[in-house]
């Protein structure tokens, strides 16, 4: 067989992807497809070719672009009104989210967008949130025009029902930042003003100003206590009302004790107080909280089905076609669906037949042929079109939507770590109060002032900062490092949940396998080039999914003879006479007449030439790189494995060669079966990690202890989940679990470290000899050493496991 192409590899000038046989030449440059060439032309015309000079390979592949009437709905006044953020007489402001934005060339091109569309007055990019603000002249251009132009050059804005119904982009609050700024400011200045107090005997001449300094300190500390620290008091008040003790309670007690005692000391003139320690503590705590709140604003972990569907569809009302919002579609409507569009509702087919890709909805990897009058479920993708359909169930009642609503009963467990911290907090408060009271009782008869001193000092020094800080800093740092490597966790709780995973369940289609790619092997008598060309000529004439796969694989030149007559027997195969040879291509049954009983075989296309069977093309799923290593690593670490698939069993043998022994495999799983399987495992006490990609896994992802969505492109739609991982990172899953385990260890070690500090401080406190200097040294040192330890230790661990650049 001579199927390998030996031509020189050229890369597309625009997107830098490898050019296939059908490359396009233009302006002495190679392009992989017409789409890419078109972008180049547009940029070239407008003198925007700097785009290619600013960063390497900025272009976005345009191979799968199709526009048609897709954005026609943007002409509807009603929709425009909902999308725009500001409108004056002829100036309109609109904000888009553009997921494809990725480099400085993108910024440059998008900010120079006014040169492509002359009606655009100004465009400004916000790279971090991947948004663009476009100001345009409504008399010179239209919204549809702008969106189409953006899509044409590869930057399709995200438009969906969610954004239409609440078009206000969530503005993140800056309150936390103000609080940190204020606390930091007060901390620094109070330290400076307290300096004379730190030196025993004081600075010469400073006695005259001591009281003045102390009052300035009080003034600086007041806003910190009342504004910056307010959230600790509010949270602990709330927790009291719910009759639980959370981490904020010991912190609030400590801050309150410090504040009252310091205020008393300064007003009575007996001492300098602990305002320096107090502001420092609040400063560090707030930074810790902020670190924990690290989120990927531009990623959505909570997507619901509405963002998967198009905003609007084309409806035929008996006289003409009109564009309507998908929400307004009702049963009985007649819709027109174009090629590659997503079916917006459960519909009945009005055409003779159509090929439908259900892989996202059901997990079946091969496209399905639907005949006239049959039902097509919402969420499926049309592979050949256009077709006319009749709506059977509106979007909100569709099969897919029902599936989605099943998961709304997701058990909202408080995390294990949260519970542990709360338990420790409870004990911490109890022990602290007991120690404080007993030291008060001990000193009470000898020296009343000393008893008061000891009592408050215990409350001051017993610092819950390890509890409050080590987890945010460790987890926050890990989330940050993982994000750089294309692993995005929803929040810090996910890490700790990852640590106790003992079962990993994979979805097959799109998760273990590469989507839209097949591994094809030919088994049998060698075929000559002539025969291969003949086979290509025949299969390329057919629209059957397997024919399409095969013709893509062969990619030869078809015979241009128009006299060739190819006959297709639906569901069986093809036959043709080419230059005196009789070809039969199709199922085993079609060629041999025998019924194929063995279902464990891969999908096969048999080739018969002149009544003789030459062999077959075995079409198998192509597995992602590293699947074998990953699964054997996982099972070596005593993690149970399972595969659930919506497909039939033909991949079982192939899978069992890749996966380690003892892997559970389930086929023919409907989405609800997957969900039930996960629930069953949960009931048996397994901590399951579900790894999936499509809507069919949505329920299982939500119910798994951890649900991980695999996506080849993070900008694509992913179902609601705990983490989104780029497909090429799937092999790092086992290391991810190990990293999570180390994170928990790091936190426990930091707890022990802080225990040592607490004992040291309490030693002074119970004797009633805790001077502000010792507090001022001990508290910042304990806090900062913990922070440094957690960040450094987690970074080192991440590096060891290969999670750094």
């Amino acid at each position: 067989m001579s199927l390998t192409n030996t031509s020189v590899v050229t890369n597309c000038y625009h997107c830098h992807e490898k050019c296939e046989e059908d490359k396009v030449k233009f302006d002495d440059k190679d392009f992989c497809c017409v789409g890419c060439k078109l972008v180049y032309e547009v940029l070239n015309e407008n003198n925007l070719c700097n785009y290619y000079a600013i960063s390497d390979n900025p272009g976005i592949n345009r191979k799968n672009s199709y526009l048609g009437n897709r954005f026609a709905f943007l002409e509807e006044e009603q929709i425009i009104e909902k999308l725009i953020s500001f409108k004056s007489k002829n100036e309109v402001h609109i904000r888009f989210h553009i997921p494809n934005m990725h480099c400085s060339s993108c910024i440059w091109l998008l900010e120079n967008f006014s040169r492509i569309d002359k009606g655009v007055v100004r465009s400004q990019v916000d790279f971090v949130s991947k948004e663009i603000l476009i100001v345009f002249n409504s008399s010179a251009t239209s919204l549809r025009n702008i969106v189409e132009q953006l899509t044409l050059i590869g930057y399709e804005p995200e438009l969906n029902l969610n954004k239409v119904s609440n078009h206000q982009f969530a503005k993140k609050s800056n309150a936390r930042i103000y609080k940190i700024g204020l606390a930091g400011f007060a901390f620094g200045n109070i330290m400076l003003l307290s300096f004379p107090e730190y030196l025993s005997g004081g600075v010469f001449g400073a006695e005259d100003f001591r009281q003045l300094f102390r009052y300035v300190i009080v003034v600086l500390a007041l806003p910190v206590f009342f504004y910056s620290a307010s959230e600790f008091f509010i949270n602990s008040f709330r927790s009291f009302r719910q009759k639980v003790v959370n981490i904020d309670v010991p912190i609030a007690i400590g801050i309150l004790a410090m504040f009252l005692r310091s205020l008393y000391e300064i007003v009575s003139g007996t001492g300098p107080g602990y305002f320096d320690s107090m502001t420092g503590l609040i400063f560090f705590m707030l930074i810790g909280r902020n670190f924990q709140d690290k989120t990927y604003q531009w990623l959505s972990f909570n997507r619901d089905y509405t963002s998967y569907f198009p905003i609007a569809v084309t409806r035929y009302n008996g006289i003409k076609e009109e564009t309507v919002l998908v929400n307004d579609v009702v049963k009985g409507d007649r819709l027109k669906i174009r090629n590659h569009e997503i079916i917006p509702a459960d519909v009945k087919l009005l055409n003779q037949s159509a090929h439908i890709d259900y892989s996202f909805v059901s997990g079946e990897s091969t496209p399905v042929k639907v005949n006239k009058g049959e039902l097509i479920y919402a969420g499926a993708k049309l592979l050949n079109g256009p077709i006319d359909v009749m709506v059977d169930q509106a979007t909100s009642n569709s099969y897919l939507t029902k599936l989605w609503n099943q998961q709304s009963d997701k058990v909202n467990q408080t995390s294990y770590f949260q519970k542990m911290v709360n338990t420790i907090s409870r004990w911490f408060v109890l022990v602290t109060v007991v120690i404080a009271i007993s030291s008060f009782a001990y000193w009470y008869h000898q020296d009343f002032t000393r008893a008061i001193n000891a009592f408050t000092a215990v409350l001051v020094i017993a610092c819950a900062c390890a509890l409050a800080l080590s987890a945010p800093f460790t987890f926050g740092n890990i989330i940050r490092l993982l994000g750089k490597k294309g692993i995005y966790l929803r929040n810090v709780q996910v890490i700790e949940k990852l640590a106790d995973i003992d079962t990993v369940i994979f979805d097959k289609t799109g998760t273990l396998t590469e989507p839209e790619s097949n591994q094809i092997n030919y088994v049998g008598v060698e075929l000559s080039d002539f025969h291969l060309r003949a086979i290509y000529t025949i299969v390329s004439s057919s629209t059957h999914p397997l024919s399409i796969v095969l013709s893509k694989y062969l990619k030869l030149k078809a015979f241009a003879d128009t006299s060739i007559h190819i006959e297709e027997f639906p569901g069986q195969g093809l036959t043709a006479m080419i230059f005196g040879h009789h070809y039969k291509i199709g199922s085993e049954e079609y060629l041999t007449g025998k019924k194929q009983l063995d279902t464990l075989k891969s999908t096969r296309v048999y080739i018969g030439i002149d009544n003789e069977i030459y062999g077959y093309f075995a079409i198998q799923n192509k597995y992602r790189e590293g699947v074998k290593e990953l699964t054997s690593d996982l099972s070596n670490h005593n993690i149970q494995l399972g595969v659930i698939s919506g497909d039939d069993e033909h991949e079982r043998i192939n899978l069992s060669t890749i996966l380690p022994e003892g892997t559970h495999m389930r086929f023919h799983c409907k989405p609800i079966d997957k969900l039930n399987y996960i629930n069953e495992l949960n009931q048996h006490g397994f901590k399951t990690m579900m790894v999936g990609d499509g809507l069919n896994d949505a329920g299982a992802l939500m119910h798994g202890h951890v649900g991980i969505a695999i996506s080849n492109d993070i900008n694509n739609f992913t179902p609601a989940c705990d983490a989104i991982i780029i497909g090429s990172n799937l092999s790092k899953l086992e290391k991810l679990i190990r990293l999570a385990k180390s994170a928990n260890r790091i936190i426990i070690i930091s707890f022990i470290i802080s225990l040592v500090y607490n004992f040291l401080g309490l030693w002074f406190a119970v004797q009633g000899t805790l001077s502000p200097v010792i507090a001022a040294i001990l508290m910042p040192i304990s806090t900062s050493s913990l922070v440094i330890y957690t960040v450094v230790a987690s970074s080192i661990k991440a590096r060891q496991l290969g999670f750094t650049k």
């Binding site: 003198n47 070719c49 700097n50 000079a53 600013i54 960063s55 390497d56 400085s104 910024i107 440059w108 900010e111 400004q124 990019v125 916000d126 790279f127 971090v128 949130s129 800056n174 930042i177 103000y178 700024g181 204020l182 400011f185 620094g188 200045n189 400076l192 003003l193 001449g205 005259d208 100003f209 003045l212 300094f213 300035v216």
Partner: protein, 60 residues
């Protein structure tokens, strides 16, 4: 030594000035996007072939 009062007032005024400046910059969104302004400042509005070669030069 009375001068120390003046110094304290001066230093606090400066410090509060910076605090206000910080609040203002957060409020006006100067920390929201730290990537595009950095890139934007290096981009010219009009491109001549001369400038293009310059940009190419920096790119390599």
């Amino acid at each position: 030594m009375k001068v120390i009062i003046l110094l304290i007032i001066a230093s606090l005024t400066v410090a509060i000035g910076f605090l206000i400046a910080f609040f203002w910059s957060v409020k006006t969104g100067q920390f929201d996007d730290d990537t595009s302004p950095a890139v934007r400042i290096l981009m010219d509005n009009e491109i001549t072939s001369n400038e293009k070669s310059k940009i190419n030069h920096y790119d390599n």
